[in-house]
Symmetry: D3
Subunit: 125 residues, 6 copies
């Protein structure tokens, strides 16, 4: 589930915890991915819409926002849809939150272009 | 657009601004609903998923969270799906945010039951 | 300084701390009012504009926001100007923050009307 | 572990989730209490100091702050120590956060007095 | 209005949105500057005091805080007054928020010195 | 008190304020260290546990979090205990807050290793 959503970006986070807090790495896999994301009810695409919205609005978790922009693109969101979520957050969390989220998304788009990561086919709604 | 999403709850907010800040009432309609929600790209159902997620995570806008739980139920989310978004926020904003969002959602469910408001048919994904 | 700005509302806060945290009551007077507000540089009116803006944007300190809406009206802001600060916060902290601040301000306006508290004459800019 | 720390207050939270989000009730027990609090390394008293500090500083989770003021008193903190944590938060999160935390703590102290809940013996440091 | 307040810094933000979210660039101009800042009621100097205060207190929008430190200096605030607003935020949002705001302001002061941008004459109060 | 807790890291903060906001440097010493930390009631070790928890949870004050990770290690916390506080914050403020705090702590551990700063002997609980 972690690989499906976050691809390499998620794996690198877990890897980076190995020397300092390996149990936190385990919890990150067990609770969010083992428990929550695998519950069904919402599609993975919808879950990533929720997460990109929340992290954009909170505005204090830029690395995780970037991981989940990757995630959204990996499970069927288009780049335009990701940007659209960020724009919507201007309404609820203000323009600075929206702007900083859009700029984080742009960094992810560039990383994917440079690394040759292909977005998943957009999910028909 | 405001009526379609927020139903009576949204109208009451605008109404309540009339004596003190009527222009803010106008902005609430023009920018979020006139500009943002009418952009397409995301479905109304997806936009409400994003908004419920963001307001649950921020944890400081309970009245607006309740308006948008109404909104989500008005545009094709089921109650189970709304609760699911709140649960997911435990991962990104902590358990208190998730718990308080679930309790706000329950208040909305009760209000709808007492007022006889029918949820919209769930949108097939 | 405390009396000049916050009037009775500020005094009640200090009073309410007497049984549980009297030292915190002392710090509230010494640092904000003894040290900061008495520094000059900004006028009291400008300091209250800054504080109402900050507390509106933070969105998690409603009692203190109400104390400082009183404060703003006590040192030369008009009610229209207080509402205007709240509206501006929609840009930086989102519409929920602005709406909740306006509703807190309205409660203060009503309290002042009911208690016969007179706003200070508006300061000419 | 839940009962030891949060006593009845924690049990009521889980109970209240039964009709709307029973899985969230299960997660609240499994992850925080099953996984985190039972890790050792820090004493329960130290863990509650950390939690009361965090919830006071965040300022948007009053019900959970109250549960953990109960928790702190159940595992060896004195009332004076709880108030002291709240006061310290004035430095890091501002005076409104400190004041609102102290007022929440006072409500808990009163509830315990009225319900005849005895604080645990203070842990010698 | 955008040029008057934010000078080149504001223009660069809009420009940088052109490739990824041009509509967000348009909204940033239309709503904050077209609608809000042009309302009168508060002077531009007072509006920038409010914005610098809010962004300092929120602590999660450093690029926008820097744009509005420029803005404050462009519409009649002195550098000393900008620093004073940041210091005041220690009271409401804690010392870390105040320190980080002061350090952001210092970066802006240096940028202006290096680019030869002149502060506007201080507005007599 | 400042030197005892924050060591060189704290001194550098005060020093860096000298040219732009020397009074803020004075307040940082007087209120947090002169008033709050010297109150007794809680041990310095417990105060640093509270501060690391709060700054981890707030997630918008990374430089100050790093200063207080140094502080915790200077007054009797082990590295494992510091990491443990960060992990616990996943429960209350979400996984992104916990992860970013752990990564900030790791930077401090490396700085101490490179600078040859010795952690204080762990305080027996």
């Amino acid at each position: 589930m972690l690989g499906k959503i976050d691809g390499e970006a998620g794996g690198r986070v877990i890897e980076s915890l190995r020397d300092i807090a390996p149990d936190l790495g385990r919890y990150v896999i067990e609770f969010p991915f083992g428990d929550v994301y695998s519950r069904g009810v919402l599609s993975l695409r919808e879950r990533e819409i929720a997460t990109v919205a929340a992290l954009s609005a909170m505005g204090n978790a830029r690395p995780q926002l970037k991981v989940h922009v990757h995630g959204a693109l990996n499970v069927g969101c288009s780049r335009q849809e990701v940007v659209e979520i960020c724009i919507q957050m201007a309404v609820y969390a203000g323009f600075p939150a929206a702007l900083n989220a859009v700029f984080a998304a742009r960094e992810v788009f560039r990383e994917r272009d440079e690394s040759g990561i292909t977005d998943s086919p957009a999910t028909p709604r």
